[in-house]
Subunit: 346 residues, 2 copies
DNA sequence: AGTCTTTCTGACAGCGCTTTCGAACTTCGC
DNA sequence: GCGAAGTTCGAAAGCGCTGTCAGAAAGACT
C-alpha cells in the first residue's frame, strides 16, 4: 500500500498539499491539484481509514449489535440496516450475540467492542438490556439508538414496533372470524418481545369477554422446534380450540408442520396465525396468515435518527409505522371451512 | 475515553511502562505493574484498537464478503463464520452485496473496502469472481480464502463443497427409488453454483442411461418465488414426471407450496428433492428431503486456513467433507405411495 | 572503588493521516 | 512602489499506541 508520503514525493509536493487535494478542503491551485491527482492514480493510492479515524476521531462507521444471526428473522433486518447505511455513505460493523440465554451480557460486550472500535454511533437490538445498562452505555457513547426495546426515559432513541397493538389486532381479527376457543404458543416467558405481543392479545380477548385464564398456552423458544412441541402439547391437552396464535412465525412453521403431520387440517380444523411477517411465510403450506411488522420502515427511521445524531443530517424520522395483518390461507372463519380434507397419516 | 497518557500520569510512570504492562511484553517490576493496573482499573482504560492497528499493521480482524444477507441461506454461514472467528479471538468485519446481478463488481468493491479497513485476511464468498480478479486481489492482500468458488491455480485457498458429487448423489438416490421421469428447477443459468450441481445431476442420470435432454427444466432465481413459478411451468408442460429436483431449498419451498396449492400430493404424486439442507426444511409440509451441505465444517476449515495464514497458527484444515442426503418425507419410492390423498383445492 | 551484568524504566520515533501555522508568492489599491 | 489582502504550499504537531534504545538502579564481580 502506498501512503500519502509516496504520493507527495511522486508529485513533488508536501503531504499537506496531497491531503488538501484528497479531502477537497483548503486552497490548492488547479495545476498542483492535477499533478497530485495524477500521482494518486498512478500509485493507486487510497487513504487509510485507520489513520483517518485516529486523527479525526470520526470513522463514518455505525456499530450494530444483533442478538443472533440464525433463523430467518434477523437477516432481513441486517439487510435493511446495511442497505440504508450504505445508501447514506456510512459503514457498518456488526457484533452478534451467540447464545439465547445470555443476550444482555453479550449485548454489553458487543457494545463495548463497537465503542472501542471507534464507531460514531451505535444501534443496539437487544431486548434484554436494562435501563441501567443504557445509562452506563450512554456515558461512553451518547449517540445511541435502540431497536425493539423501549425505555420511557429514552423514548427519543427507541424504535419499537407496537407489539401490544399488533397482538391486539391479531386477537380482534380472529374473534371477528368467529373464533372463541383459542390456544397460544408463546415465546420464552421472560422475553419482553413475547410478553408485549401476548399482553396485547390477551387484553383484547378479555375486552371481548373471553376468559383468557382458560386459554391453553405453551411456552416455546421462538424456533420451529418450539412450535412443533407446542402444537403437540396443545393437541394432547384436554381443551379444544379453533384458533392457534403463535408468538412468532418460526414457531408457527413448526406448528403447521406438526399439525400436518397429525393430519389436522389448517385452516379447516384449526386456524393458525403467526407473527412477524417473514418472507418465507408466503410459501408455507398453507401460506401463513401473520402479523406483518414493518421492520424495514422502522430500521430506516432508526438509521436516519442515528445519522442525524452523529453527523447533523436532517433525515426524516417516522415514529410509529403500524403493523398489518398479512392475510393468507392459514386462517379461516369458524364454520366456513370444509371438513377434514386430509386424513391422518397413519 | 481515557488514553494511555492518562494512565501513565495517574500511575506516575511513563507511557512505555503502561504499554508494557498492558501487553505483557518486556520487564516490569511487580510493584510498578500493580500500580499501573490500579490506574487502569480506576480509569476504566481500554487501549484503542485503531491506534494499535495503525502502529502494528495488524488488526486481529478478518474481513468477510457475502453476496447478500436475505433469505435463509447465508445467515447460518455468517453465524458459523462469526462464531469460529470469535472462538479464536479474532474480529470480523462484513461487507455484503446488495443485488443479485452485480455480484462480481460488489465483491470487488467489498474486498477493496475490507483491505482498506486493515483486515489481516479476507474470506470472500463470491461465485462470480473471475480468475483475474483473484490475481489482482492477491497482490494487495495475499491472505485470502475463497468460499464456494474454486480455481485450480489457487486450490489451496479455495473451500468448496463438492457440488457436482452432491448433484450426482441426488440423481442416484432418486433413481434407486425407481424414479425414471425427472424434472428440474434450476438456479440462474449462469450461476456457477447452479451449473455444478446440475451437471453432477445430469451426468449421473446419463450414466444411468436416462435421456437428460428430455428432462423438462425451469430456470429459477434461487428464491421461493422461482420455485413456485417453476412448479407451475413444469406442471403446465406436457412431460409428466415423478421426481422434481430443485437446485436449492428455497426454490423447493416455493415448489412445495405450488404443488400443495394445486392439490398435487408430495411425495405420493411427485417426489421433491431440495439442495442445501437449510434448517427450516425440517418443518416444511411435508418435510423436505434435501442434500445437506456441510457448511459448518467447510466454514470452520476456511477460517482455520486463513488464521494459519495470518497468524501462523496451526489449526487443522479439512478439505472435503462430503454432502449427505437428509431423508425426510418429500421423496418416496415410485409406486409405493398411496394415491392422491388430497384433492385439488377448487 | 571500579567494572560488569542484570533488571527496570522513561524518552522518543513513527504508524498515516488532517490541520494548523506561517512563509512565500500574487494581486491590488493607492 | 509599497503595504494590505488574498492565495498557495510545506513544515510540523499530534491522534493513541508499540517498540527500540539508552540510561538509571541495583547487585555481583574483580
Amino acid at each position: 500500500m502506498s501512503t500519502i508520503k509516496d504520493v507527495a514525493k511522486k508529485a513533488g509536493v508536501g503531504i499537506g498539499t496531497v491531503s488538501r487535494v484528497i479531502t477537497g478542503k483548503g486552497f490548492v491551485s488547479e495545476q498542483t491539484a492535477k499533478r497530485v491527482q495524477k500521482a494518486v492514480d498512478a500509485l493507486g493510492y487510497r487513504p487509510s481509514p485507520t489513520a483517518r479515524k485516529l486523527q479525526a476521531g470520526k470513522s463514518q462507521t455505525i456499530g450494530v449489535f444483533l442478538p443472533v444471526i440464525r433463523g430467518s428473522f434477523y437477516a432481513p433486518i441486517l439487510h435493511s440496516l446495511y442497505t440504508e447505511l450504505q445508501a447514506r455513505g456510512r459503514h457498518m460493523v456488526v457484533a452478534f450475540g451467540q447464545t439465547v440465554t445470555n443476550e444482555r451480557q453479550e449485548a454489553l460486550e458487543g457494545a463495548q467492542f463497537l465503542i472501542d472500535h471507534g464507531c460514531d454511533g451505535l444501534i443496539l437490538m437487544a431486548t434484554a438490556l436494562k435501563l441501567r445498562d443504557v445509562e452506563n452505555l450512554i456515558v461512553e457513547q451518547p449517540r445511541l439508538a435502540l431497536l425493539n426495546k423501549h425505555f420511557d426515559r429514552y423514548a427519543e432513541m427507541c424504535f419499537v414496533p407496537d407489539h401490544e397493538a399488533a397482538g391486539a389486532a391479531a386477537a380482534r381479527a380472529l374473534w371477528q372470524l368467529g373464533h372463541r376457543r383459542f390456544a397460544t404458543i408463546e415465546g420464552p416467558e421472560i422475553s419482553a418481545d413475547n410478553v408485549l405481543r401476548m399482553r396485547g392479545f390477551y387484553k383484547e380477548l378479555t375486552a371481548l369477554s373471553v376468559d383468557v385464564e382458560r386459554i391453553p398456552r405453551f411456552y416455546g423458544d421462538f424456533m420451529p422446534k418450539g412450535g412443533w412441541a407446542g402444537a403437540r402439547a396443545l393437541l394432547a391437552g384436554k381443551v379444544r380450540f379453533t384458533a392457534l396464535f403463535c408468538a412468532n412465525d418460526e414457531m408457527a412453521l413448526g406448528a403447521l408442520s406438526y399439525l400436518s403431520h397429525e393430519g389436522v387440517a389448517v385452516p379447516d380444523d384449526i386456524s393458525v396465525m403467526g407473527y412477524d411477517g417473514l418472507d418465507i411465510t408466503t410459501y408455507t403450506v398453507p401460506p401463513l396468515t401473520t402479523i406483518g411488522v414493518p421492520w424495514t420502515e422502522i430500521v430506516l427511521s432508526t438509521v436516519n435518527y442515528l445519522l442525524n445524531c452523529c453527523y447533523g443530517t436532517k433525515l426524516p424520522v417516522e415514529r410509529n409505522p403500524p403493523a398489518t395483518i398479512l392475510w393468507r390461507g392459514s386462517v379461516a372463519a369458524v364454520g366456513t371451512a370444509k371438513k377434514v380434507k386430509q386424513q391422518p397419516a397413519s
